[in-house]
């Protein structure tokens, strides 16, 4: 097996559009350059006796109505056209890009509005109209045409820059750069611009070809190049009256324009394919084909009455085997679990069973439903069973619903398809189904659009849709992974109840054994596209023997791993971080000039203290205000002004977002949730980890930086040699280690961990938690650890603060809170921990 960060094999070289486009454009550019020193004939020389001659040996492309050589004229016009296009694009970039950055990054929304509106006004003058306006005022000329096209390009680049910069602005790596003490303008130039440059270059090619077309149009109207400056557009204007007599005078310049534009467009398209993430090659687990034969342990004992059987299903995408020879069988009413780490092939298997794999996935093997052979290559064969025999719900319920259709209508459609009933009946059925999943009309309107519902409600809608066809099997692919633990618990209970009531078989997919163990009677364990372990009776978790199963099992036992409690905890001199009366309100709407007109409180009067060497847990469901509190504590955002003035002190000094000197900034660092957006994808690991060193008082030499980065990498368990790689080569767990290394490099007193493990699977989660607690103990760090998962909190925190709707509802020693929870919100969070863990 190759290392997970090995780069994918390079695709074979072939002649691409980029290559052809490059050839066309360079030849035309070359012809233009040659025209400065040589053309077949002087383009201005008239020869009336040879006028309107068709192409011949003497004049390759013929002559015009004054007997001038057309080829020479076209060559001489090339530099003019290319220069106009290039300069007008430059005007657009120089004018539009900085304004777009200002619009996206200025913290006063009024600037954004003024600039966007200004762009809209310019945009209302297409180049031709602007050219006419300028010509009427200042006279015709090539520079007027250039200016008109350039002015129109400004709002184009402004919009593009603003939109792409806005997208980047919310990436976690921008927050990290701010934690490294960099100012917004500096971040815009250092981080944002390089990352949006590909998009801008692509836009530049598009505007370049539009400029060529616009220039020729203007010159045709007489608003561009004036005689004697040669121009493709004017050649066409001259040709119009002779079009019956000398068609070549019209055809040749037109084809030249087309060819140039096609060339530029091909280059643009080639660039786009390289930039577009959808075209990137995703490295996938690679399985040797020889493994397939050894892996048929579970296929020979299927009863003929099985609801659904799968035999030797293999899935391949390009050169990657994603599944090899999977066999399993499901009977009516079975409760089956499918577990494995991310990338094990669980989702591929479930989508293959539904016949829903994307077209470039190649499936082989047999599948039977009620003993009938299903042709896996024929979509229609499986379609008759989808929604009727087998239904499925997915991981991210918000994305799984059509955003512009009411939820009841989406469910009714499923009812119509499954039962062939009228729209009216289907609507009533949909309402019944919604009630069954607990979404009665008093809770949500049946016409609600998905974005008005919470994640848990969306998953309920998905379940209502899945059960409406009375399926005999429901496949649930990580149905609760994107939900918080309380909601997860409710959804699991709902699935259990519905499966009982309808005698429906369940195939539950998860990476979390603790979740599965309480739901199912049989468990299949998957690893690298194969089934490696199986257990059929309760308690399933004791019967799994394969090493992979053991690891997954170990991950569910969240052992206490708290760092030693610092001594002298009641002494206030030990307090490293304290905050009092923190409140934060967000504006939810803006008027035309950017004035807020609706307020939503997200944090209300929070106070806390953190002692040296202490680990404080912050827990609450999604939307409780945990992340907002993090940003306030880090000095990235300002708390509201209130009657009791908000106050944050770090080792005795006040934290203020307006002025956070480097000496203070480096004492508090953070690790964020999403390891995929936490780093600038264009920077090497060394540069990423070293960024906060900017905060240190002394300037370090390159060698000293390398040394520090190497030590940081070692301390998080990574090989120092990895520092020269780029971040895309690393897995989620490795990235989180890199994020920790970056937080450690300034030797801070306090580190905030904002859900650092919730996007990792259970195996990796355990490793990262162990790393964190070891580091805390070793370096006497003070830590605030934020999570929605009490099991994680209990494993490592000394004290816990429970947040609900922006308020602190309970706070105390971890063990006390677990043994005797006082508040309903705390009890709900405790209930959500799977049984196995709570009892030990």
């Amino acid at each position: 097996m190759t290392a997970p960060y090995a780069s994918p094999p390079r695709p074979r070289k072939r002649i691409t559009g980029l290559f052809i486009g490059g050839m066309i454009v360079s030849m035309i550019t070359l012809a233009g350059l040659i025209s400065f020193i040589w053309t077949p004939v002087d383009p201005g020389i008239m020869d009336i006796s040879n006028r309107m001659q068709p192409p011949s040996m003497g004049a390759w492309l013929g002559t015009d109505h004054f007997g001038r050589d057309i080829l020479s004229q076209i060559m001489a016009a090339t530099p003019v056209t290319l220069a106009v296009a290039m300069i007008s694009v430059m005007i657009g970039i120089i004018g539009g890009v900085p304004l777009g950055l200002v619009a996206a990054f200025n913290h006063k929304p009024v600037w954004d509005h003024v600039l966007t509106r200004g762009g809209d006004v310019l945009f209302a003058f297409p180049a031709v109209i602007m050219a006419m306006l300028l010509t009427a005022g200042f006279g015709a000329g090539i520079s007027i045409a250039m200016l008109a096209i350039g002015l129109f390009n400004i709002p184009v680049f402004l919009r593009m820059t603003r939109a792409s910069a806005m997208q980047q602005r919310h990436m976690t790596y921008i927050q990290s750069a701010r934690l490294a003490g960099k100012s917004m303008p500096r971040i815009a130039v250092e981080h944002i611009l390089p990352n949006i440059a590909p998009v801008l270059i692509l836009q530049a090619t598009i505007q370049f070809s539009l400029a060529i077309l616009a220039e020729s149009g203007l010159s045709y109207l007489g608003l561009g190049a004036q005689p004697p400056v040669p121009s493709w557009g004017r050649m066409l204007a001259d040709s119009q009256t002779m079009i019956g007599l000398a068609p070549h005078m019209a055809i040749v310049p037109g084809l030249t324009i087309m060819l140039t534009v096609i060339g530029v467009n091909l280059i643009g398209e080639g660039l786009r394919q390289r930039i577009d993430p959808n075209h990137a090659v995703v490295p996938a687990a690679h399985i040797a084909e020889t493994d397939i034969a050894e892996n048929n342990n579970f296929k020979n004992n299927q009863p003929p009455t099985a609801l659904i059987t799968v035999q030797n299903i293999s899935v391949r995408r390009h050169d990657n085997m994603l599944l090899s020879a999977i066999s399993l069988s499901i009977n009516a009413g079975d409760r089956i679990g499918l577990i494995g780490a991310s990338g094990a092939g669980k989702s591929v298997l479930s989508l293959a069973m539904m016949g829903l794999l994307p077209p470039d996935f190649h499936v082989t093997g047999q599948m039977h439903i009620h003993g009938n052979d299903i042709d896996l290559a024929n979509d229609a064969a499986m379609r008759d069973h989808r929604g009727k025999t087998v239904a499925m719900i997915f991981q991210d319920p918000r994305l799984a619903l059509n955003p512009v259709q009411g939820v009841a209508a989406q469910i009714a459609e499923a009812a119509q398809l499954a039962h062939g009933i009228s729209g009216q009946d289907a609507h009533h059925m949909a309402l019944d189904s919604l009630s069954r999943v607990g979404l009665t009309p008093d809770i949500i309107s049946p016409d609600s659009l998905p974005d008005m519902l919470s994640g848990g409600q969306c998953q309920r809608v998905m379940i209502a849709m899945a059960i409406i066809g009375k399926p005999q099997l429901l496949i649930a692919d990580e149905p609760t992974t994107s939900l918080d633990t309380v909601t997860q618990n409710e959804i699991l209970k709902l699935l259990n109840r519905l499966a009982d009531e309808d005698n429906m078989a369940l195939l539950m997919i998860s990476h979390d054994l603790a979740v599965l163990a309480q739901m199912v009677e049989q468990i299949y364990v998957m690893d690298q596209g194969q089934i490696v372990d199986y257990a059929a009776t309760q308690p399933v978790n004791q019967l799994l023997t394969h090493s992979v199963s053991q690891k997954l099992l170990a991950a569910t036992h969240m052992d206490q791993h708290r760092p030693p409690r610092p001594s002298g905890q009641n002494d206030n001199s030990d307090i490293i971080l304290s905050a009092s009366h923190l409140s934060r309100t967000y504006a939810t709407g803006h008027s035309m000039l950017g004035k807020a007109h609706a307020q939503k409180p997200v944090l209300r009067d929070i106070s806390l203290t953190l002692a040296q060497g202490e680990c404080l847990g912050l827990v609450g469901a999604s939307g409780a205000g945990k992340s907002t509190l993090t940003r306030l504590l880090l000095g990235l955002e300002k708390p509201d002004y209130a009657a009791d003035p908000a106050m944050i002190t770090l080792a005795g000094d006040a934290v203020t977002p307006d002025h956070m000197p480097p000496a203070m900034r480096r004492r508090i660092q953070a690790v964020f949730q999403d390891p995929y957006s936490a780093f600038n994808p264009r920077h090497s690991v060394r540069r990423i980890i070293a960024e906060p060193l900017w905060l240190m008082p002394e300037r370090l030499t390159e060698n000293a930086i390398t040394d520090k980065v190497a030590k940081a990498l070692q301390s998080v368990g990574l090989d120092p040699d990895m520092m020269h790689r780029h971040i895309h080569a690393f897995s989620g767990g490795q990235r989180q280690r890199i994020a920790i290394a970056r937080a450690l490099i300034t030797a801070p007193d306090v580190i905030l961990f904002d859900e650092p493990t919730s996007s990792l699977d259970t195996l990796i989660r355990q490793q990262i938690l162990t790393l964190i607690t070891d580091l805390v103990a070793e370096r006497n760090l003070s830590v605030i650890f934020i999570s929605h998962d009490l099991a994680v909190i209990r494993a490592i925190c000394h004290r816990v603060m429970v947040l609900e709707h922006g308020q602190c509802v309970e706070m105390g020693e971890t063990d006390a809170i677990f043994q005797n929870p006082q508040h309903a919100a705390t009890r709900a969070l405790l209930d959500a921990i799977p049984d196995q863990i709570r009892t030990g």
């Binding site: 109207l221 499954a418 849709m465």
Partner: protein
């Protein structure tokens, strides 16, 4: 919804106001004396003074601007200097060629772009897609006025099916009018249609990757049914954006196409007015064109709200 419309109307009026200031400044203030611009450098001081009197140019810029705007608000667009007729009449007459031409071209654009874009997107990578993409590559690179010349060469000169240009007016019956506008509308539409086609294609491909299309297939719909029932309406959102912008390109393109086909529309009037330096006429035509462009942007925003019910909510 009412609030949404009012806000967009506010933006429209603001844009028009700023545009009118820009137009006025560029034509009457920055270049210097408009009378000199109109008459040329060979005019005697007496003639220039006479024209200044006639046009009221002795007043300051601000009162002149206000007079221009308030005149237009009362329906008085002034007298054309060269045509000696009210600008309003001229515009109304010419608008009856340009607007139908642009709308006709938009219809062609949509009729070509949406079905072929849908087909290419739904069959991504297959032969239908490749053929459509090949032709769209050529279509995008077509200069519309050259394409118009080629159409004239083939259909008017070689085949003799239609006349090479001109427009005899709507009083000869609307069928005749539409027939005369067909070739210009095609010339205008093809390049824009191929752009819109590509937008439709990539929007559909993007939509087809969404989880809700998988959900629709999990219900028992075929891939094509899922794209048809849940895909195209979502794919239409970016398509409408581009379509709104394209109408302004169609209006701008009409200026050129009218000159190729000698159609008596706003564009031809505009080119003549520039040749004759008829500043009053130019100002008003450009403002009319800006009005059309921003009105179409406004309509686009309304169409958005129809497609995407999320935008119809009072506050979000």
């Amino acid at each position: 919804m009412a609030g949404f419309i009012l806000r967009r109307l506010g933006v429209l009026i603001l844009t028009l106001f700023i545009a009118s200031v820009v137009i006025f400044a560029l034509l009457e203030i920055i270049p210097g004396d408009p009378a000199l611009t109109m008459l040329g450098i060979n005019a005697t001081p007496e003639t220039i003074a006479a024209l200044r009197n006639e046009l009221g140019l002795n007043a300051n810029a601000l009162p002149r601007y206000l007079a221009w705007i308030s005149g237009m608000l009362h329906g008085d667009f002034g007298l054309s200097y060269t045509y000696r007729t009210p600008v309003a009449e001229l515009l109304a007459e010419r608008m009856m060629v340009t607007l139908p031409l642009a709308i006709y071209a938009l219809i062609f654009t949509v009729l070509i772009a949406l079905p072929f874009g849908f087909l290419a997107g739904a069959r991504e990578g297959r032969w239908h897609d490749r053929i459509i993409l090949f032709f769209s590559q050529i279509g995008i690179a077509l200069p519309n006025f050259w394409f118009a010349l080629m159409l004239i060469m083939i259909f008017a000169i070689q085949l003799g099916w239609v006349s090479a240009g001109g427009f005899s007016g709507w009083h000869h019956g609307w069928i005749n009018g539409i027939a005369e506008l067909t070739l210009p509308a095609i010339a205008l539409a093809i390049p824009q249609a191929t752009i819109l086609l590509r937008v439709m294609r990539s929007a559909l491909i993007e939509t087809a990757r969404q989880d809700y299309i998988r959900t629709a297939r999990a219900k028992g719909l075929s891939r094509d049914q899922a794209l048809w029932r849940h895909g195209w309406i979502n794919a239409l959102i970016p398509v409408v954006t581009i379509m709104g912008m394209q109408f302004s390109f169609l209006i701008a393109g009409a200026i050129i196409i009218e000159n190729v086909f000698s159609l008596p529309g706003l564009g031809r009037l505009m080119v003549q007015a520039i040749g004759q330096r008829d500043i009053i006429l130019i100002e008003t035509i450009i403002l009319m064109m800006v009005l059309i462009v921003v009105t179409v942007t406004f309509i686009t925003d309304l169409v958005y709200a129809i497609i995407d019910p999320r935008l119809r909510r009072p506050t979000s």
